[in-house]
Structures are given as C-alpha cells and as structure tokens.
Amino acid sequence: MTGPGPGEVAGTRAAAGDGGLGSARAAFSKSEMMIVAAARELAGQHVCFVGVGLPNIAVNLARLTVAPTLELVYESGAFGSKPARLPLSIGDPTIVTGATAVVSMFELFSFYLQGGLVDVGFLGAAQIDRFGNINSTVIGDYEHPKTRLPGSGGACEIAINARQVFVIMRQSKRSFVDRIDFRTSPGNLGGAEAADRIRREEGWLGSGPSVVVTDLGIYHFDETGEMRLDSIHPGATIEQIRDTIGWEPRVAEPLAVTPEPTLEELRLIREQLDPEGAYTK
C-alpha cells in the first residue's frame, strides 16, 4: 500500500489555492464539498432511499443536477417525493404533497425495499470500519453503553436489501475506527471474499457499500472489500486524512482531486436546500 508522494500532496494544495477565493469561484465549506461530492456519486441512479440530514440534502441536490430522474423514497412511506423545502425530519409533510405515492411502512419495507426496487440506500453512522460495517446503536457495551445512539431504524434492512449503499459522514478518529462497538448494519464484514459468499448464501439483494463520502475525500471499496481513498477534496491533505482515521488508509495511485463545487451547486445548496445553513456551515 502506498500513499501519494509529496509532489501530489503539494499539487492538491495548489489546486485548493487556485479554487479557494478565485474571481470566478466562490469559497465553500467542507460540508458543502461533502454534499456536492455525494450528490455527484448519484449520477445514473434511479431509486434512492433517503435518510435525514446530510443524505437528504445530497440526494435532493442530485435530483436538481446530475440525476433529474431520481426517485426519492423516504422510509416514512413517501415515494417519488419532490420536497418544496428542506425537511427537518424524514416524516415532514412537504415530502407528501406532490409525491407519486404514499404507502404504509409495511408496503415500503416489504414491496419496495425487500422487493428489490431500491438502487441506493444512503446511510450515515456514528462509527464505520475499513470494510464499511456500520454502528449506529451504542458507543461502549450494549448493556451498559457510554453513549446510547438512535439504533437501526431502517438502516439494517437497507444495508442488506438496497442494491448498493452510500455512506456520508464526517471523518474523525472517533468515527473511523479499527473496531466498531456494535454492528448495526453489515458492510463487507471481514473482507470481500467472505462477504460475497455470505450475501449469496443468505440471499441478500444488496452488494454492500460502494462509496463513502467524507468532508475530506471520496472512498470506494477495492477488490478485498476495504475502503480506498480515490479522491481527495481540494484543501484537504493526506496528513488530515491519516489524522482522522483509525487505521492506515489505502490510497489510490494516482489520487484524484475532487472537482470543487460549481457556482450552480453552491447556489442550489445555499438558496434552496439549506438556506439556514443548518447542515452546511
């Protein structure tokens, strides 16, 4: 495993310098870069299961840019939503008015998700490991947790039944960990070989996690099922990546630099999707 040489890191910095406050470009936050990068990953996808918060903004941005035919499915039972405002919760009335269909949660989980109609499930997490296994249940021991987190919600069955899983979360040593405290949603388990066999034997519809977008870069999963940094965001450095991850990360060679947000993407986020900056500041 090799990281990029010093020259490439310097190149990254130079690109960031060019992109920061240039005359034709706007400055952008790390969260905005993360949302834009996640939205672009949705190009070509058709049906996406949406979670609250960052995934919600990313998916709605994708619908307005790279994926105009994207159908948004909310676990609360709305299909084909066209929200007129950014919903605080995934059960907001704005996802109902003007939707294609509103169904019971039984139908949503049985027919839409377990029936195999969802291309991408979008998950966040408190902890993730190198194989994309996710914890959103507890920090510490289950019986005597240090921090009690929300739990699965629909994440466990989304990870198993959505055709692929996208993860969006900020990087930190506390969240990108060598061992997660509780496996709420399965990723590539202990590696691709075993995970592929188990998925086949147990009849999972999903092929597992395919992308992790953070505030510092974009990771895909290599042939061993481990996360690999494929693109670093402008302004971020390999040192920052290493300082915020609990294992020695694999890094693609050559390492791409994520194209910075366009003025139009920033305008949509700032004026339409998150005008109060709740998620993007």
Binding site: G77, S89, P93, V102, Q114, R148, G151, G153, G154, W204
Partner: protein, 305 residues
C-alpha cells in the same frame, strides 16, 4: 352507536397500570394529547411501544409512567438524542429502563403478525449484525420450502393502541391521509383501540370515500375529538410539525429539572388539550397552518342499482 368520549374518560377506562401501550404515528399523527393525559392520570409501569419513541415517549418516560421501551429508532429526528430516556439508559437516572430493540421493518412486522394472528413475521434483515445478540427474540428460521434462512420477529399485540387521524364518524370509522406509518397494523394488533381525531364527521362523509378509511369502527373502543391533539407533531393538511419545539426540547430535556418544570407547566398544569392549545396562543397556532391548499381532487365511485 356513538363511541365519542372525552380523553380523560377514554384513558381512565382503557389504559391500565402495567399495560403495553402503543401511541403510533411515524413523525405524522403522533397523539401527544393522549400521552399527556396518561401522564396526568399518573399511570405506572407501562411498556411503551413505538418505532420512534420521539418526544412523546421522552416526556412519558421523564414523567415516570414507563418501565420498558420497545422500539427501533431512538432519537429526536434531525435534532439529536432523547435526553430523558438516555439518562435512564446510560445512568439509570432516576431508575433503569428496560429495552427491547428491533429495526423499523422488524417493528412493522411485529404489528403485522399481531394484527394477522400469526406466531411470527419473517423478514430478510438482521443477517451478520449484533441485533439478534442484543435481542434474543430476533431469531433465524429455515424456510419450509428450501434451504433459505430468514429472521423471525414475534407478534406485538399492544393492550392499548392510540391512533390520531384527520377524521372519524361517531362509530369510529376513521379516515387519514399523508404518511400512514404503521397505524393500521398497530390498530388491528391492539386489544383496545382509542382513535383521536381532529374532526368528527357524519357517517355519510366516510361512505363517500371508502378507500380512505384506514380503520373500521368495528375495532374501535373510543373516539376522542381533540383538535390540535398531535402538536408538536402534525396533521397533514391541518397543521405543520412544530420543528421549533422539537429543537427547543433538546435544551429542555438535557436537564432533569427543566424537564420536570416543563411537564408541570404544559402537562400537569393544564386540564387537557383545549387548555394546552389556548396556552400555545392563536399566533403560534396560526403560524403552523399550511401556507396554502393542495386539494386531492376527487374520484367518481359511480352509482350501481
């Protein structure tokens, strides 16, 4: 026969100490009015079932009504944690809280099995996760028709379910629109059922649009008319979710003293929902009304003689 009664009488007659209670509604149509009346009547040792315990169960747990939670997602959506519940779980403060945890699909399946009189509900979930270790009631079963293994969850049959809706007639025939959550499943699974509505309508209104009837009066024990009874949750077409209150609760509930002060002021300190709505004030209520209309149009069922 009319089943219309007051919230006070419905809760007094149908909710007992030690019951399994489900006040359902996924973000939408959560009957806070019923939860507050249960607090006021100082019911104890309840097992509270809901996919998303939400603020309503944080309040009911803070008020000491519950000994156990059955749930699948424990949080304040888009805001953060449920602090009164977390105090009980993380610090046993002021007492431990028993947990029985599933995923959303698992909870939906449990109500479905309960409503259908089945011994379990099978689903393709939980594979290779720690959830079956955390909750041994989640069990793998072999298909009788092949080699496949799926997971099973047990039926959930609440002693009492409370459902909030837009409208019902006096017999309890209930119509709702917007997000349906698993209100229907939880209603049919229940031993006793309280329906709480924004509006009481004539039977002819129900009969004019039978596809919109989610719950038949057949299974309803009490109909309570309680406008604004879902606040700070919402009712599609009638009022919006009070997102400001959901954010404010995060601050209130972080401290046990401010939590109790809030309960004193807004629950114990009012006689019922009507007084609570008065206290909210006309300005707040008006601000939560939808900004415009989006009528469904209508369909023709036809007359066949």
């Amino acid at each position: 026969m009319s089943k219309v009664t007051s919230m006070r009488d419905a809760v007094a007659a149908l909710v007992h100490d030690g019951d399994v209670v489900a006040i359902e509604g996924f973000t939408h149509l959560i009957c806070f009015a019923a939860g507050h009346e249960i607090i006021r009547q100082r019911k104890r040792d309840l097992t509270l079932a809901r996919l998303t315990p939400d603020l309503i169960y944080d309040q009911m747990v803070a008020a000491g009504t519950a000994r156990k939670l059955v749930f699948s997602w424990l949080g304040n959506p888009g805001v953060g944690g449920l602090h009164a519940i977390r105090r009980r779980i993380e610090n046993a403060d002021p007492a431990p809280l028993e947990l029985e945890e599933y995923s959303h699909f698992g909870m939906v399946g449990r109500y479905t099995a309960g409503a259908s009189n089945l011994p379990f509900f099978p689903l393709r979930s939980y594979f290779e996760t720690d959830l079956p270790n955390a909750n041994p009631l989640i069990r793998p079963i072999k298909s009788p028709y092949g080699d496949e293994t799926v997971y099973a969850v047990p039926p959930l049959r609440p002693d009492v379910t409370v459902v909030h809706a837009q409208r019902a007639d006096a017999a309890g025939d209930t119509q709702m629109w917007g997000l349906l959550g698993c209100q229907k499943e939880a209603a049919f699974a229940a031993e006793r059922l309280i329906v709480v509505v924004e509006e009481l309508v004539d039977e002819s209104v129900v009969r004019a649009d039978p596809n919109r009837t989610v719950i038949p009066g057949l299974i309803v024990d009490a109909v309570v008319v309680e406008p604004f009874g879902a606040h700070p949750s919402y009712v599609q077409g009638a009022y919006d979710r009070d997102n400001d209150f959901y954010r404010d609760w995060d601050g209130i509930a972080r401290d046990a003293t401010t939590t109790q002060a809030w309960l004193e002021e807004w629950v114990y300190g009012v006689s019922g929902r009507a007084e609570y709505v008065d206290k909210l004030g006309t300005e707040k209520v008006a601000a939560l009304r939808p900004s415009g209309e989006a009528p469904s149009g209508s369909v023709d069922y036809g007359v066949y003689k």
